[in-house]
């Protein structure tokens, strides 16, 4: 079944895969922002993870270790952010931007000499018997393990934030860090943990780009996808399931517009290339318009504010 010459099964399968970097990074940042920290350095952490993952995968020959390496590298870079905002109480917006700048430069510097190398390939997770089933085969079973990891993380984070003590502490720290401190929770330590988690997820998302999606290492390979991830976090009202929808929506429109071009559609290319961004804005407006009754947006109340224990 086609419409406009495009096969929806292949389209959906492709968009799920292309949304993975955004999904992973956005999930990590969701946790970070829930704890009250706004880390605009996602792009920097992603690209550093892309390089780190690539280098480890090439050196060890194992793509899995590559992903671990990407996560570790992203987390390491996020420690700089954590130190500056939690210990030195620097402004979070400025620090995040500085992190991106530094990450872009560091990855470019570190990546010299790794251009044009092919990384070890990551295969399909499920056997062909399942992946070849009609319709549900490519959509559900035809992906690599990172895709399933991403969806599993969505479910895990949703459950953690909603029902566990850890999640409650994170949310408390994000909504009112003074109260959380009064209750005896170590605000800065909780935030540190969340920041490192966010860095690891962003690093993994970046590694996905350099190890599976493209796959290669080149300067600037992530090309702004970290900013999209930040936007998706806000779009999703800081809720994990909505992050999944946002990532799929954005990835889907991006993939759709390319497929429309390839199918020879008559919609002008320029409008197609703007479509993902415009549609994201429109959907967000529609979603936030419904919440006009509340006194503010759904953002964690202490988002962006540093905490310093005065006692």
């Amino acid at each position: 079944m086609d419409f406009g010459g495009i096969d929806p099964v292949i389209l959906i399968a492709t968009l799920i895969a292309s949304a993975v970097p955004i999904l992973l990074a956005a999930l990590g940042e969701t946790v970070v922002e829930r704890s009250g920290v706004l880390n605009l350095g996602v792009e920097g952490m992603m690209i550093v993870g892309a390089l780190g993952g690539f280098v480890i995968a090439v050196q060890t020959g194992s793509p899995f270790l590559g992903f671990v390496g990407g996560a570790v590298t992203g987390a390491a870079l996020s420690l700089i952010f954590a130190a500056l905002t939690q210990v030195f109480l620097a402004n979070q917006v400025a620090t995040g931007l500085a992190l991106t700048l530094f990450g872009l430069g560091a990855s470019s510097l570190g990546g010299q000499g790794y251009n044009g190398i092919k990384p070890p390939a990551t295969g399909q997770f499920f056997p062909d018997a399942l992946a070849d089933l009609p319709v549900i085969g490519p959509i559900v079973f035809g992906h690599d393990w990172v895709v399933y990891f991403g969806v599993a993380m969505v479910a895990l984070l949703w459950w953690v934030l909603k029902s566990t003590r850890v999640g409650l502490i994170i949310r408390a720290v994000g909504e009112s860090h003074e109260a959380a401190h009064a209750l005896g929770y170590k605000v800065n330590r909780v935030r540190l943990g969340c920041i490192v988690f966010g860095g690891a997820m962003a690093g993994m998302g970046g590694a996905y780009v350099s190890l599976i999606r493209v796959p290669q290492w080149v300067d600037g390979i992530t090309n702004g996808v970290g900013w999209i991830a930040l936007a998706i976090v806000v779009f999703a009202s800081w809720k994990p399931w909505r992050v999944l929808i946002g990532a799929w929506l954005f990835g889907g429109i991006t993939v759709l517009q390319l497929n429309l071009q390839a199918a020879g559609s008559s919609i002008p290319v320029e409008y197609l290339s703007m479509a993902p961004y415009l549609i994201t804005i429109i959907v967000l407006v529609v979603m936030s318009a419904g919440r006009k009754g509340k006194s503010g947006s759904n953002a964690p109340a202490c988002l962006g504010q540093n905490f310093h224990a005065s006692r």
């Binding site: 700048l101 290339s273 961004y277 415009l278 804005i281 006009k292």
Partner: protein, 363 residues
């Protein structure tokens, strides 16, 4: 064990010493990085910081500092107003592009004519273009409560698409052999934003930046709007009790920062960049955010921060060309400078104390 204790009032000494200390720390650590890469650290540091100001080509390069710093300052002072009030305009890059397109479109429409009125009209169009682009997130926030960070950021990508359309389509030079890019403004004296003093690098944009900084400083210090902005940022509830209308503030701050970014755009595209091309925008809108914070959201500080950033760009480029330093190393260096500035800045508001600070009870 070391801990931080908030100062009752910010330390005047550290307010001025912080940037100096940060620059020195960056030079040391950066120098170590350059040495590790096999370059002479003193030569690199000198090329970045000293040569553009006092070295062989400084006659030319000092002007280039103004060229680079002008748009950064102009955009940053507008952003600072919003940031102080907690209004996060992350889309200045998009407003910059739209201002450039609007101003250029007006200029190209009248390109066959001459007249002193053409340039002011273009500047006005540019400011309006940027203002309008900034109004979109503002109105969406006031009417629908939509987060302005997301909207303004997405609009940057939309603006870049429109820029590509302009360069390959509606603003393309018909005599340009089919290549993308508008007519070059250098050929149209009425529309060209030339250096006010030839070769000095000071064009209308640079002048606007300096005048703008003074005006914004005046607003912040003496005008009621400035008071409202500062209040809204530091004590939102008190601001509401005082009668500050948050919607009005959002519209004003986004509008002003959008308009200033649009101004920077039109000055840049009619001056140093000289034509609309697919990627004439080099990220000033984002760098300006960093400049705004480096300047501590204060117009005078922003002027200094703008020049410091410009110095690292111009000097870094020189180091790249002449010493073979990879451009990436310069970016790392800039990132480090920012990190150190942000880290050392803590001493302005906090004191370092030894001990656990526990309150002694009894006795």
């Amino acid at each position: 064990m070391l801990r931080l204790e908030k100062r009752p009032t910010p330390s005047q000494f550290w307010l001025y010493a912080t940037p100096v200390v940060a620059v020195l720390l960056t030079m040391i650590v950066g120098g170590m990085l350059f040495a590790a890469m096999g370059k002479d650290p003193f030569a690199v540091i000198r090329t970045i910081f000293w040569d553009p100001l006092f070295g062989g080509m400084s006659g030319y390069l000092r002007g280039q500092l103004i060229v680079k710093a002008g748009p950064l300052i102009l955009i940053a002072i507008g952003l600072a107003l919003g940031f102080r009030a907690g209004i996060w305009n992350i889309g200045a890059e998009g407003q910059y592009i739209m201002g450039a397109i609007s101003g250029a479109a007006v200029g190209l429409y009248f390109h066959s004519m001459e007249g002193f009125w053409i340039f002011p009209l273009m500047v006005l169009a540019g400011a309006l273009g940027g203002w309008a682009w900034g109004m979109i997130p503002a109105l969406l926030k006031t009417k629908f409560n939509t987060n302005e960070i997301l909207v303004s950021l997405m609009l940057v990508y939309v603006a870049e698409s429109i820029l590509a359309m302009a360069a390959t389509g509606f603003l393309r030079d018909p005599d340009g052999m089919g290549f993308p890019g508008s007519k070059n403004f250098r050929n149209y004296p009425s529309a060209h934003n030339a250096d006010l003093i030839a070769g000095s690098g000071l064009h209308w944009g640079g002048l606007a930046a300096l005048i703008g900084a003074m005006i914004v400083a005046a607003i912040l210090l003496w005008h009621v709007l400035g008071f409202q902005i500062r209040l809204a940022g530091q004590a939102p509830r008190a601001a509401r009790f005082h009668g500050v209308n948050p919607s009005k503030l959002v519209v004003l701050c986004m509008g002003i920062s959008g308009g200033l970014a649009g101004l920077a755009g039109v000055f840049e595209v009619t001056g140093p960049a000289a034509q609309i091309t697919i990627n004439f925008n080099v990220g000033y809108g984002f760098t300006a955010i960093i400049v705004a914070f480096l300047g501590r959201l204060n117009p005078i500080g922003i002027v200094l921060a703008g020049f410091l950033m410009a110095l690292t760009y111009v000097g870094g480029e020189m180091a790249s060309t002449q010493l073979g330093l990879p451009t990436a190393a310069v970016q790392v260096f800039q990132g480090m400078l920012l990190f150190f500035l942000l880290a050392v800045d803590v001493l302005t508001n906090y004191r370092v104390r030894v001990g656990s600070g526990a309150v002694k009870v009894g006795g």
